[in-house]
């Protein structure tokens, strides 16, 4: 039931679009605990892929191996043809894999603009003398980029507000804005709509679809309505193993998925 490589290609075209990320036999152990076991999976470059599965299935661990937080115990991760297993998190960000967090995880005491500018700055600055001796505000590109991203997520009117003073829904958008400012090629979103009101959820879904127009998006999501609505591909994890993957309708009709996860009709 596991270990088989599942090809995830674009459903309606003959020309196979490439996979931006590919894992081969990916395994992660924490001591005696196996969080991921022999996961072989491909994330196609186009569209939105949803990772679903019951709690403790290994979804967040999978993200953590993609972003370099955890080095794989065994197996390979390839991003854009290059191995990234064991590469440092900051280096992975620079290569183009960026994640947003489930819990709001930003720089509370700084302004919304500074939160995003800091993320944009990483693409411009390093350790040259000017990075130490010039005023940060004299570097115009990161500020311009940050303002553009804030506008895209609809936060331009609160750019100078302190992040901790923002309302919940806007905090979650700031979270996404910080990730976008790194100019990801692959954006990993951990439960982007968790705890949101229905209106904020609709807004966020629109935002995700907008982002997916030029960026590969992978989401972890519990709300099955959203998953069925926005994803082009679904991968189902259970007990650290890849149960199956495919289009929403394929996954929905899969018996094993229904047994493991979608018991009682598939909708929460």
């Amino acid at each position: 039931m596991s270990g088989n490589t599942i090809e995830m290609t674009e459903k309606d075209t003959n020309a196979p679009s490439g996979a931006i990320l590919r894992t081969e036999g990916l395994t992660k152990n924490f001591g005696p605990l196996t969080a991921l076991e022999d996961v072989s999976l491909e994330i196609p470059t186009d569209g939105i892929t949803a990772i679903i599965g019951p709690n403790g299935a290994g979804k967040t661990t999978l993200f953590n191996t993609f972003t370099g937080k955890h080095a794989p115990t065994d197996g390979e991760i390839e991003f854009d043809g290059e191995r990234i297993g064991g590469v440092e998190p900051h280096e992975i960000v620079r290569r183009g894999i960026v994640r947003s967090f489930q819990i709001t995880n930003f720089f509370s005491a700084l302004t919304a603009l500074e939160n995003v500018r800091l993320a944009a700055q990483a693409r411009y600055s390093g350790f040259s003398p000017s990075d130490f001796l010039t005023h940060h505000a004299s570097h115009k590109e990161p500020i311009a980029d940050a303002e553009q991203v804030l506008e895209r997520v609809g936060l331009d009117d609160v750019a100078t507000e302190t992040a901790s003073n923002l309302a919940y829904g806007r905090r979650r958008h700031l979270e996404v804005a910080i990730a976008l400012a790194s100019e990801p090629r692959l954006l990993l979103m951990d439960e982007p709509t968790a705890g949101m009101s229905p209106e904020a959820t609709t807004e966020t879904v629109e935002l995700i679809e907008d982002i997916a127009s030029d960026t590969t998006v992978v989401i972890i999501e519990h709300d099955m309505d959203i998953v069925m609505d926005i994803s082009d591909r679904i991968a189902v994890l259970n007990e650290g193993k890849l149960l199956t993957s495919g289009t929403p309708s394929e996954v929905q009709s899969d018996k094993r998925v229904q047994e493991a996860y979608l018991r009682g009709g598939g909708h929460e």
Partner: protein
């Protein structure tokens, strides 16, 4: 950096959290001019006061260096005495063995402070919070023992390097461009000038792209790695920069006292320094400098009245209760809302009593 550059504000209000407002900078410059005027006055009334002023300035610089990593980057160093002592001993050794030229001695003290800090930082930055503090304390005490037992002399098989528990004494005065700096007042001006330059330099660093990243590390270390920054590297560099300024403080203090003793590196110096930063108001740069000056002043004036540690302890308790954000925090809230001062003090006392009761 030109003098005018120091006053430029660019579009800082949009990104916020700027170290020192324009108003604050103008006040600082007035303060420095005031201090320059105090020197000659003190000299004419009681020459010993100039000694006290130099000591206050040296500790202000040391507290500033600690505030850069503790208040601004969020790294609680409990071992800053190591860099201070290393700078001091370097100055003592270079003056006695090589040259009294200040242009060589002071950069050497800065460099050694940076190297010691980079080493301690490299060995400690993977630990966080209190574990980081304990590691820096441990490495600083290690260096203290090395100096106290004169380990370098034992290894090299020569009679003495650090002078062991006696330390090094009879250290001559600096020279600058062939002119001796033995005169107290001249030395005071040299110290004041270098402390002012250090403050300007650290303010610039704090507002630079690099400074913004270490501020982000203080705010959320877990996240900053996932927006593309090498956290360990930034921390080590910040720690090394801080160590350079601590080394400069030691290099300014030792030749002036003409003594370098192991006490410079003792953990009590590091501890007192943390108190200075907290008392002054961490993260503001000028607050810890004021705090350091005040503590050195009080120690000198009140040291004979009662046990100094008791006075310092009592003072610290009062600050924790009434001014948790230190002298700087209290002054800032006084400026923003002068009429609420009594109410705030009452509130603070009430909170404290409630905390203790529960």
């Amino acid at each position: 950096m030109s003098v005018l550059e120091f006053f430029r504000d660019d579009n800082a209000p949009r990104t916020g959290n700027q170290i020192l407002s324009r108003q604050g900078r103008i006040l600082l410059v007035i303060g420095i001019i005031g201090l320059a005027a105090v020197g000659p006055v003190a000299q004419s009334i009681q020459p010993f006061w100039v000694n006290l002023l130099v000591r206050m300035l040296a500790f202000a610089l040391l507290a500033l260096s600690l505030d850069f990593v503790f208040g601004y980057a969020g790294l609680l160093s409990f071992g800053h005495a190591a860099m201070y002592g290393a700078g001091g001993y370097t100055a003592a050794l270079v003056v006695t063995q090589v040259t009294p030229n200040a242009l060589i001695v002071l950069p050497a003290a800065v460099l050694v402070g940076m190297v010691v800090a980079a080493l301690i930082g490299w060995l400690s930055v993977r630990a966080r919070g209190i574990y980081f503090a304990m590691l820096t304390l441990a490495f600083a005490q290690l260096l203290y023992v090395v100096v106290f037992t004169d380990l370098p002399a034992t290894i090299a098989g020569i009679e003495t390097v650090t002078g062991g528990d006696n330390g090094l004494y009879g250290i001559g005065a600096y020279e600058l461009a062939g002119v001796g700096l033995g005169d107290r007042l001249t030395y005071y001006f040299l110290t004041l000038g270098l402390v002012a330059l250090s403050l300007a330099g650290l303010v610039r660093l704090a507002n630079s792209p690099f400074g913004r990243v270490i501020q982000g590390i203080r705010e959320n270390e877990d996240r900053i790695e996932f927006i593309g920054y090498d956290v360990q590297r930034y921390k080590i560099i910040a720690f090394a920069i801080s160590g350079g300024f601590a080394g400069l403080a030691g290099g300014l203090y030792v030749p002036f006292q003409s003594v370098a003793n192991p006490g410079l590196l003792h953990w009590t110096v590091s501890g007192e320094l943390v108190v200075m930063v907290l008392l002054g108001g961490m993260g503001t740069f000028w607050g810890p400098m004021v705090g350091a000056g005040l503590i050195v002043f009080l120690e000198d004036r009140l040291g004979g009245v009662a046990s100094w540690e008791v006075i310092l302890g009592a003072l610290f308790v009062l600050v924790v209760i009434f001014a948790p954000r230190g002298i700087a925090g209290t002054l800032i809230s006084l400026r923003d809302d002068p009429s609420g001062a009594v109410e705030r003090a009452r509130q603070a006392l009430q909170n404290y009593v409630r905390e203790v009761r529960d």
